[in-house]
């Protein structure tokens, strides 16, 4: 670690910044894809369900690295579309991790009690309102823990872009390795960097999960009165039900 000069550190830190940007934009795209595809998979039209299901299977079925190669090398030759490396990377990561995310969205939507949907129908909510006012607010706290895992996978996936010459952390490590002629220090450093990024993301998602769960009155982790009061209603209902079952 002694012969890592300031300039080389700067190279690595710039790489970390690119990794953060890549993760951020790919997450935005991936989340958008996940919501659209995930909701489309619960659509009443068979055709929409089929198309979104096919998207999910195709992008989940192939390898993210192969997809990235395809975006970088086949798209320009075959279609004449030359994307900036950074955006081609975001596109490849967002599309493939969005396909994984759509399963999370679909699962969480399916986990909302059907009676909630039925209540929405009874109150003659439009399908859009049923989704945005009733189902999604209850479903989305369920999505956060698996989304956290996926986010870490996405962060790890961003390292792939270094093969395409995008100057991310792993690419910086390659340059530093060439400059110093030593591999062990620099690769140890960047592994720790990735780990710290993953740790920060996980912590952030925990906070988000707490807020989301508190918002629908589940598992009050904070000693806030407002949360407790809202949570007490379903708890009492449950206690009542179990008493009835136990007594009969």
């Amino acid at each position: 670690m002694t012969d890592l000069t300031w300039g080389l550190w700067e190279l690595l830190l710039k790489g970390v910044w690119v990794t953060v940007q890549l993760t951020f934009f790919s997450t935005l795209l991936g989340a958008a894809v996940a919501f659209v595809v995930g909701v489309a998979r619960t659509h009443r039209l068979r055709f929409v369900r089929f198309v979104s299901g096919a998207y999910m299977e195709i992008f989940r079925g192939t390898s993210a690295l192969v997809l990235m190669f395809w975006m970088f090398f086949v798209l320009p030759v075959a279609f004449g579309w030359q994307l900036l490396p950074m955006w081609a990377a975001v596109l490849a990561l967002g599309l493939s991790y969005g396909a994984y995310g759509s399963e999370i969205v679909r699962g969480a939507l399916a986990a909302v009690a059907p009676a909630q949907q039925e209540a929405g129908i009874a109150l003659s909510f439009s399908p859009w309102h049923r989704l945005t006012k009733i189902v999604l607010p209850q479903a989305w706290p369920e999505m956060i823990p698996p989304a956290n895992n996926l986010l870490i996978e996405l962060l790890k996936g961003t390292a792939l872009v270094s093969i395409m010459g995008v100057a991310d952390t792993a690419f910086g490590a390659m340059l530093v390795r060439n400059a110093t002629g030593e591999s062990a220090p620099v690769y140890t450093i960047i592994l720790v960097m990735y780990f710290v990024l993953a740790f920060v993301l996980t912590r952030g998602m925990r906070v988000l999960e707490r807020h989301a769960k508190a918002g629908i009155g589940q598992a009050p982790p904070e000693k806030s009165l407002g949360v407790r009061r809202r949570a007490s209603i379903p708890q009492q209902a449950d206690a009542f039900r179990s008493n009835v079952v136990g007594g009969s």
Binding site: G61, T62, F69, W70, S183
Partner: protein, 216 residues
């Protein structure tokens, strides 16, 4: 868009070589991941803090860092320590080690899922510890987690192209080499992309079927 079937035909012999190497890496990597994952899972349950703590830290670290960087680490750093493996062996070790941290979680969940009564029955029958694990706990735990393990094999298949970056000529490696020689990237990369779907999709259907049979 131009599509050249003769390029596909030219690529085919190499493609099959690539498939063979991918499957080799997958089988060997899975064996390492299954075996090592069980070791991690058992070590994490150890009552000795000096065993469980380091194993937890190491597996968390490996799971939260990119496989690609780990492969580079193995490929570049091991020779500095005078340990030299071929690209394929390095790749298999990297894949196996990385995925062992996932299978460890799977085994852990499976072991936790064995009802307490089974443990108590073993105590009541005064079975020795090894027999408890071998004949009672693990058979029930592993049966439940077979589909989850299978899903990680599929995930490993989709990560296996990464070993092309350290020079193993699996499917992606063959496609890269072919397109570098002929300047025709479209056909080989599209072919291997479809090949991944053709392998992964039926495999995931199989895992879903297994899940219905074994878990429920």
């Amino acid at each position: 868009m131009q599509w050249d079937w003769s390029a596909v035909a030219d690529f085919m012999p190499r493609f099959w070589d690539g498939v063979l190497l991918t499957l080799q890496a997958l089988v060997l990597g899975s064996l390492i991941a299954f075996a090592l994952g069980l070791v991690w899972a058992l070590a994490q349950r150890s009552s000795l803090k000096i065993v469980s703590w380091p194993v937890t830290v190491v597996t968390e670290f490996i799971r939260n860092t990119p496989l690609l960087v780990q492969l580079f680490f193995l490929y570049f750093v091991l020779p500095e320590w005078n340990v030299t493996f071929s690209a394929l062996v390095t790749g298999v070790i990297g894949l196996g080690l990385h995925y062992s941290t996932y299978t460890a979680e799977v085994y852990r969940a499976g072991i936790d899922g064995v009802p307490v009564g089974q443990w108590e029955a073993c105590t009541a029958l005064s079975l020795p510890r090894t027999r408890t694990w071998q004949s009672v706990i693990l058979p029930q735990a592993i049966r439940r987690v077979v589909p989850a393990l299978g899903n990680y094999v599929i995930a490993m298949l989709k990560d296996s192209p990464m070993i092309a970056t350290i020079g193993a000529l699996e499917m992606l490696g063959q496609a890269r080499q072919f397109s570098a020689e002929t300047f025709q990237p479209t056909e080989p990369i599209t072919v291997i992309g479809i090949a991944f779907i053709l392998i992964a999709y039926p495999a995931s259907l199989l895992m879903r079927a297994l899940e219905r049979r074994l878990v429920h």
